[in-house]
Amino acid sequence: WMPTLAGDTQMVLPTDTVMYQAQEVAGVVATSRYAAADGVAAVAVDYEPLPVIVDPFKALEPDAPVLRPDRGPDKANNHIWHWESGDRAGTEAALQEAEVVVDQDIYIPRIHVASIETCGCVADWNPVAGHLTVHMTTQAPHAIRTVFSLVTKIPENKIRIKTHDIGGGFGGKVPVYPGYVIACVASITTGKPVKWIEDRSENLQADSFARDYHVNIKLGATKDGRLVGLQAKTLADHGYSDAAADPSKFPAGLFNVITGSYDLPKAFVEVDGVYTNKPPGGVAYRCSFRVTEAVHSVERAVDMMAHELGQDPAELRMKNFIRPEQFPYRSATGWEYDSGNYAAALRRAMDLIGYEDLRREQAEQRARGELMGIGISSFTEIVGAGPSHTFDILGIKMFDSCEIRVHPTGSAIARLGVQSQGQGHETTFAQIIAEELGIPAKEITIEEGDTDTAPYGLGTYASRSTPTAGAATAMAARKIRDKARLLAAHLLEANPDDLEWEPGKFFVKGSPERSKTIQEIAFAAYTNMPQGMEAGLEAVDYYDPPNLTFPFGSYICAVDIDRGTGEVKIRRFVAVDDCGNIINPMIVDGQIHGGLTMGLAPALYEEIAYDELGNNLTGTFMDYLLPTALETPAWETDKTVTPSPHHPLGAKGVGESATVGAPPAIANAVVDALWHLGVRHIDIPIQPWKVWAILQEKGVAT
């Protein structure tokens, strides 16, 4: 057994009972890939079938087999934890008094990040030095090093994690997997470097999954469309072990941000974690700690409410948005939203797509029997975990860090505790330093992912890099600028308070010709510093964010449904995002385009499905469909800018906004196209066969 990031335990290798299909049962060490494959084929295991729990509701029935007897006789059931947030009695009363209540079961299916590069590592034990180097695909190298040290008792200075370039993470590369442990043990045993790499099917079947939330949501409103209360009761299927990468105090992540963009006076959320015979999890899938589940639920419910009331979904949203003057806004479940202007983002999206015209067109098409739908999602994200008073993983506070060294000739290196997986940290963080110190970005090296050199940090996930490490970078640069001011004053024989800064140089107030560039100042830091000043020009900052950041956006999707095949075709998709001040527009656009495609995926295609015997039916990309350029529409993106008041740069995280915001826009559009036929809800992924069956049932198929 080994610890999970959620404080549960999971098996490295099972000794008697296998908990899920595709669980590792043995390790084979060989000198080549071919020999290893032969060795794996030679492992004979005699499996005796045991009762299987696939359905988390059945897991809670009194006669269900207990999957984890190792937890002791006190916990002879499959219930892991109960978590709740908000005002139960107040919310129940509000729903009781509400004139209209929407009550819907929503399943947010199990999906897999399916990053292009699977998980793997090379463990290299040096028996002479007693030193372990692990080259691995992890999003959180420092945390991994600490876990390794705690588990193996190897001193932390004798463990070095190096990540190199990573081929996608999306949350799937936060946990520790048995393969890493086995590779390390094999290297220690053999004294040779040992490589472990998953094949695609192993990756899809054995790695941590995401989502798998069974949500019942109740949303109450007055007849004129004022939302009065929201209640969500949820079963979280964690597989056989809770291996979520959520902060300690949040077993269901930030799911209680489910009040979304709306000024909801009352809300109550409860979640129960359950064991089943599936791989342990869950991780994020490009989503800040269960926010996708929350956003999908509330955006579906608000859309249903609009239809129930016969109001336009845009109008109902406008009526209930938190207004700009209400920020900082305290939500009914306790979050303090930093800033927002939700109506402006929705209006921008409506203008871009030509909302009113589209609605007219929809009415005309409907009169002709054509199925066209318009869906809106006005999401609020909660990212940048997190303030140390509430956020930790295995006790380690969720700060992040940056160390900057300016070399004598004026170029610089910055090392960070986060870990790029293709998000372009090298660009974004160099730009922050360039902006703060005036050193050209091309003369700044950004280095991450070597625990021997980088300052400690919690890593990259949950859209936290810019909110935390980005802030640390700005703060470290400002510490350097403060010292540079003293150096410039010394060089210019002026009072430091009489100096003014413009990017790249200090000059004496009123006489701009008397100036020193940052390069001149850097040289002086090593050659001509004043008496009593330490040499060098460097700084480190560990940034503990005062709050999370709350990026938001409004997405509008128009779909056409093929009445012959049930296929959903996205005609247009407009995404207006607001992530505060933008450091690099191209990077942000890249994040949004990729995120939208990873939002389209679970909306229409992706699901890790199991049969009743617990067989994973989606073990290859033949059955687990990732959208390619063929399936992906041309995204239309735009921005509004509402800076975060507490972030040093006014920036918010953005990496996951689109993944979080896109699925309900698509699902709402499909249901909008079918509402007049009596369809109220369709669980994602909305695959053609589901729509086809509905078209058949309603008698509108062609």
Binding site: Q21, A22, V40, A41, V43, A44, V45, D46, Y47, P49, S201, Q205, D611, L613, G614, N615, N616, L617, T618, G619, T620, M622, D623
Partner: protein, 146 residues
């Protein structure tokens, strides 16, 4: 998964029964069957290579003949394993004479496949199984009717 059907074989019932009760004879008609070894009168073990889609696996299958009611009815229980995959099946057959020279065989099988083969080949299993069943009966017919 449930498979069932009936086959008309142009041979006397006693001959059909004898053929079907001989593991070597039946085994020679199973696609991919490499060897059949009797364990005792009602148990035997077969080795077979099965390919579904792009994956193939070499199964060791333990079989048991039960509920024998000569020359009419038999139940066969099978449990097979391959690296990473397993199959469990219960099959029944009922023979009825159609005159002196022909026999009707009604058969059914409940098959559970688990592991890699189920995951990777799920969509292909039914088609592949049908093909293998057809091949088996074609072979049985050709041997018995010859």
């Amino acid at each position: 998964m449930r498979f069932e059907g009936s086959e008309r074989i142009a041979a006397p019932q006693a001959k059909v029964w004898a053929f079907l009760m001989d593991p070597q004879q039946v085994g020679s008609c199973g696609p991919g069957v490499e060897a059949v070894e009797p364990v005792d009168a009602t148990h035997f073990r077969a080795r077979a290579k099965v390919g579904i889609g792009f994956i193939s696996a070499r199964f060791v299958v333990d079989m048991e003949m039960a509920d024998l009611a000569e020359p009419n009815h038999a139940t066969i229980k099978a449990h097979g394993q391959a690296p990473g995959s397993a199959v469990d099946a219960t099959a029944t057959m009922d023979l009825t004479a159609e005159g002196a020279e022909a026999t009707n065989m009604a058969w059914g099988a409940d098959v559970n496949i688990s592991g890699t083969l189920a995951s990777v080949g799920a969509r292909l299993i039914e088609g592949t199984a049908k093909k293998m069943i057809d091949q088996t009966f074609d072979c049985i017919r050709s041997k018995l009717e010859a």
